[in-house]
């Protein structure tokens, strides 16, 4: 099977969506309303291409001046003014379009492609070309002639347009690919999304994917479940056991946690889930580093909490044994969080991850129907990378005897499921822990009292005299 030569956009997520990049020598329409990020996408690709030895020709059919464009692009990290006029040429064909028509624009650009030896051509303002065309046939001719000349020169073409061309439009039928960028409101929050509407000659991750515009330009987050529909590595199926950080819990679990496994601790606020997590992370070493991926406690608060448990978090961070990645805001994109988690794991060779909490992570989801698929893909990927995961799930009921799983699918994603509850015993409030599920191992199903004393966490078998369910 023949594989077509690719032209990387330099936008990591976009290249992933395109399964390696644009098809070199092909032509694409990039469409989206003004402000959607088309120009950023095209220029980011242009500068990346120029940095890798390519030559770029940007032809505008718009009245807007190039200097205004440069001023605006100069706020983005990829912009490099020394490339302009050298590897990247900006020319305006507006005057030619206005006074001489589409045919002359094609001639002008054809000559420029060969004169500049351009390997990427960006035509900004296809809408203007369309309004100049007397009929659809003229636009089709404009696109087909231009892409014909470009393809002959081995030049990839991007046509930028702010009109929403539909799938049946003549422009779409002509080009090899269509990339659409849009913005949608979720409550008061606005989320940018990108979609590959057409990709000829290449597989692609279909559907809508979230993206954002940062100081580094466009960042695309492929939907995690489509990106990792198969984990990037075979499941390590490593049956090595590692310590959970609490000796008595290891005993209950039949000898610790499997090194490639996911454990979920469910419980109400204040029950001690984070304490369990910090004990788990305290086992991290420089050789097997840990990651705290949290949504609630700031690093400062975590250090204080660590002190109270006899864990020198600052020292561990300094030595490289522990990384704290705090997600302070509720703003953000679900796939962005997933990508960030995986990239920290990758960069720092993380072996233990504590996610506090999964409910905090999924709060930013714009589509709740995907949460299970998202978490399943994320956890499978972490397992495949040989990471031991401990995660928490916030439960609403403080003293409920009703135990409702967060959702039935979640328990199938995790290997081990633990439930923490408060129990009222006479006049005392006690913390308890029960193991609900351990994959591929025998475990002690009793309910245990969680005792936190002298910086230590102990699990004590609850006494026979205690009622087995919390009393009213």
């Amino acid at each position: 099977m023949e594989k077509l030569k690719r032209l990387q956009s330099g936008i990591e997520g976009l290249d992933a969506l395109l399964k390696g990049g644009l098809v070199a020598g092909a032509s694409y329409i990039i469409q989206g309303r003004p402000g959607s990020g088309k120009t950023i996408l095209a220029n980011q690709l242009g500068f990346h291409h120029a940095n890798n030895g390519g030559r770029v020709l940007v032809a505008t059919l718009l009245a807007e001046s190039h200097d205004r464009l440069f001023q605006f692009l100069s706020t983005l990290s990829f912009f490099d003014s020394s490339k302009i006029g050298e590897e990247i040429q900006f020319v305006s064909a507006f005057d030619t379009l206005e006074n001489e028509g589409l045919d002359e624009v094609v001639k002008l650009l054809r000559r420029e492609i060969s004169r500049r030896k351009a390997t990427v051509l960006v035509v900004d303002g296809l809408l203007n070309a369309r309004s100049k065309a007397d009929s659809h046939i003229d636009t089709k001719k404009f696109i087909s002639e231009l892409q014909g000349h470009a393809a002959f020169a081995g030049c990839t073409v991007l046509f930028l347009t702010s009109s929403r061309l539909d799938d049946g439009s003549p422009e779409h039928t002509m080009v090899d690919g269509v990339i659409e960028i849009g913005e949608e409101l979720f409550g008061t929050r606005s989320v940018r999304r990108i979609q590959l509407r057409k990709t000829r000659g290449s597989a692609a991750l279909a559907g809508l994917h979230e993206c954002e515009i940062t100081d580094n330009g466009l960042v695309v987050y492929p939907r995690l479940e489509s990106l990792y529909s198969h984990p990037s590595a075979p499941d390590s199926a490593d049956m090595t056991r590692i310590g959970s950080g609490i000796a008595s819990l290891d005993t209950i679990l039949g000898g610790g946690l499997y090194s490639s496994s996911v454990s979920l601790v469910m419980g109400p606020s204040g029950i001690g889930k984070t304490t369990l997590g910090l004990k788990f992370l305290a086992e991290s070493t420089v050789d097997s580093p840990g990651l705290h991926f949290g949504f609630y406690e700031s690093p400062q608060r975590l250090r204080l909490k660590g002190d109270s448990l006899g864990i020198d978090i600052k020292g561990m961070e300094d030595s490289g044994a522990l990384t704290i990645a705090w997600q302070p805001t509720t703003e953000g994109l679900l796939d962005g969080l997933g990508a960030r988690l995986l990239s920290i794991v990758e960069e720092n060779g993380i072996k233990r991850v504590f996610v506090d909490s999964l409910s905090g992570m999924t709060r930013v989801a714009t589509n709740t129907a995907r949460i299970t698929d998202f978490l399943s893909a994320l956890m499978n990927e972490l397992r495949a990378r040989g990471v031991t995961v401990l995660a928490t799930w916030e439960m609403r009921d403080l003293l409920g005897s009703e135990v409702s799983a967060p959702n039935s699918d979640l328990s199938s994603i995790v290997d081990n499921l633990m439930l923490m509850r408060f129990a009222e015993n006479d006049f005392e409030l006690k913390r308890t822990l029960s193991v609900l599920k351990v994959r591929d191992s025998a475990y002690d199903p009793s309910r245990f009292e969680v005792v936190i004393q002298a910086q230590d966490v102990l699990l004590k078998k609850a006494s026979r005299h205690e009622p087995s369910v919390p009393t009213e």
């Binding site: 807007e64 200097d67 001023q71 040429q89 305006s92 005057d95 030619t96």
Partner: protein, 125 residues
Amino acid sequence: MDYNKVTTILVVDDEYLIADILSFALEDEGFSVVTASNGRKGLDALDRVKPALIITDFMMPAMDGLEFATAVRALPSLLQVPIILISGAQAHIGMQRPDLFDAVLPKPFNIDAIIAEVRKLLHLA
């Protein structure tokens, strides 16, 4: 402003908006302005008009400002005509070629600075 005869200035820029803005400003000062959207068209225009001064952009299709100025300087009749280069990214290239450009002004440009430079090069008070 009262000149004995109308002084013509050739403005060469592919960006229509910039050519337009420059034209209006120069016309307000009493000059006659001819515009061309690239160096090639600028050379064509020289067959028809004899400007007292030329203002050119650098980055243009068909023929850029450097190629255009070189071609102009090769024409004996235009050897003495002052050429002003207006460029953002390529200003440094222009500065190294005083044989081609009498002045190099940055982009985004200051219209008053351009008018002042034009008057200076044309020895107008």
